[in-house]
Amino acid sequence: MKKVLVKGNEAMALAAMRGGCEAFFGYPITPQNEVPEYLSKHMKEAGRVFLQAESEVSAINMVYGAAAAGKRVLTSSSSPGIALKQEGISYLAGAELPCVIINVMRGGPGLGGIQPSQSDYYQITRGGGNGDYQILSYAPENLQETVDIIKASFDKAFEYRNPVMIAVDGLIGQMMEPINLGEEEEKEYPVPAWAADGKKGGPRRIVSSLFLDPYDLEAHNLKLKEKYDLMVKKEQRYETVNLADAEIVLVAYGTMARVCRSAIKELAYQGIKVGMIRPITLWPFPAKAFEEIPENVKGFLTAEMSLGQMIDDVQLAVNGRRKVAFFGRAGGVVPEPNEVVDAIIKFKEELK
């Protein structure tokens, strides 16, 4: 199939439909509005469900309902809206329901701003809602990668019966890039046996996250933990750049990783060898990438569009074996590559 030039938010909507999204429930918020706008045009004509809810809280609960009834369901929002959805996400995880959540991140806290940000790393990876749970979350850096991940995300959600989040910053949502959507497949998605869609003479199904007996709840928590452990084992994704001869390794994801790529080139002209570990999954964090640190690597510089959140996971993964430094801009400011260059030069001095 030919490549098409599309805006990030529309690319995500297109990819969701290609990935077999059967229903969408959402509420408007900048900078993700082109996702529901596109789907409002195309879902109904494709015989699928699109509904604008009265709030993010309602939208995520509609998602919970459609998921409880076994459908491949999507919602999208941005940081403050995702905050409102956290209760529902906790219920989805607790009731073991699959869904896909697109999060086009903007600056916070509070109403914050509408410019691109990565300040919701904690919210995504530390369980934004109540209880012991995790969601599988991806942070792609370009539209092709975003599209490929979204297309596969519904299958992942059903494989683990767990919410899956695709977290991009507002820049990825708003930029245009060529994408290849792949061939269109006509697939049927039968409602799974656990789903509550009328018992039809069979045993009745109960979808719930309530366990009043603490021993029952603990057993449920342990069952969920097994699932999360399996995800940690099987789902870590990352890319490495120039690790073999780098003296400093950047750790960055999403738009920040693209800025770092430019910085790496500039530093190479200056004779400074810099590599990068780019997490593609935020949770599970790709700790595997840090298992063998080459001798030539003297330190890690974590670069984020926040004041330092992923750095916690980098420090845990590095575990004192090397120095870990930080560079970040906040509030929706996208740093220039030369700011990363300067941070690397400063860190190199500190490492001497």
Binding site: S58, N61, A68, K71, E87, A196, D197, G198, I206, V207
Partner: protein
């Protein structure tokens, strides 16, 4: 020869109720379940348990059940019904759940005319959490969070849900009933039947408001509580049909 004159409905499971003695949840469950059975809906029904005393109602209704978070049953029901229009979808919600925390979800589901049926239990109190004031608590009523009695100045007037919802165009059927008198049960079942049929006919949003008792948190005997419903609650919350778009035949 003996002959069976009464049997427990197949619409209920054999799980023992967790409800308090004298509470009318049990009667309302029975009436709803009987109508589900009589209309052959048990195989296509998906029920929504809410948060409150009826949080465990998924243990009792003998059909597929989904437990919703506090107040969100109508949103969850929307998600099910929109993706499974051939299912019969009902919610079972108390007044804290529906009239307080979930009022937005309920109003908007009604306004969209979702083809769902809401069983709304109004006992004017938060039962499960131990007797706090609800938006439906009558004036003067003492609760654990209105120890001097509900007053207009601090709390406003009790919310009249049926009267409010009757103004919404896509509400197809709306009635307030009380189960205190056994002789009313046949009539209530006919109302449930009508609401359920309207959903099957895709006429829009349907709701039956049940005035209900909470003897434990009201500090009354079951008989006193039933009398309170019939004599006091019905004065502020008059029984009757608030909306009926009419049937096709």
């Amino acid at each position: 020869m003996s002959k069976i004159v009464y049997e427990k409905t197949k619409g209920l499971t054999d799980n023992p109720f967790s409800y308090c003695p004298g509470c009318t949840h049990g009667i309302i469950h029975k009436l709803v379940a009987e109508v589900l059975e009589e209309m052959n809906l048990l195989d296509k029904a998906v029920g929504l348990a809410s948060v409150g005393c009826s949080v465990t109602s998924y243990n009792y209704f003998n059909c597929d059940m989904v437990q919703a978070s506090h107040g969100r049953a109508c949103a969850v029901a929307t998600g099910i019904k929109r993706t499974h229009p051939d299912n019969f979808v009902f919610t079972y919600q108390g007044d804290g759940d529906l009239a307080s925390i979930g009022i937005a979800e309920t109003i908007h589901a009604a306004n969209r005319g979702e083809n769902i049926t809401v069983i709304f239990i109004n006992n004017g109190i938060y039962g499960m959490t131990g007797g706090q004031m609800a938006p439906t608590t009558l004036l003067g009523k003492k609760t654990t969070t209105s120890p001097f009695g509900r007053n207009v100045e601090d709390h406003g007037m009790p919310i009249k849900i049926s009267e409010m919802f009757a103004t919404i165009p896509k509400v197809a059927y709306l009635e307030r009933v009380s189960v205190g008198k056994p002789q009313s049960h046949r009539k209530i079942k006919a109302s449930l039947r009508k609401a359920f049929q309207y959903q099957l006919d895709k006429k829009g949003f349907t709701m039956i408001e049940f005035l209900s008792s909470c003897p434990i948190n009201w500090g009354m005997t079951p008989i006193e509580a039933i009398n309170y419903v019939e004599k006091e609650m019905t004065v502020y919350y008059p029984l009757g049909v608030y909306k009926d778009v009419g049937s096709d035949d």
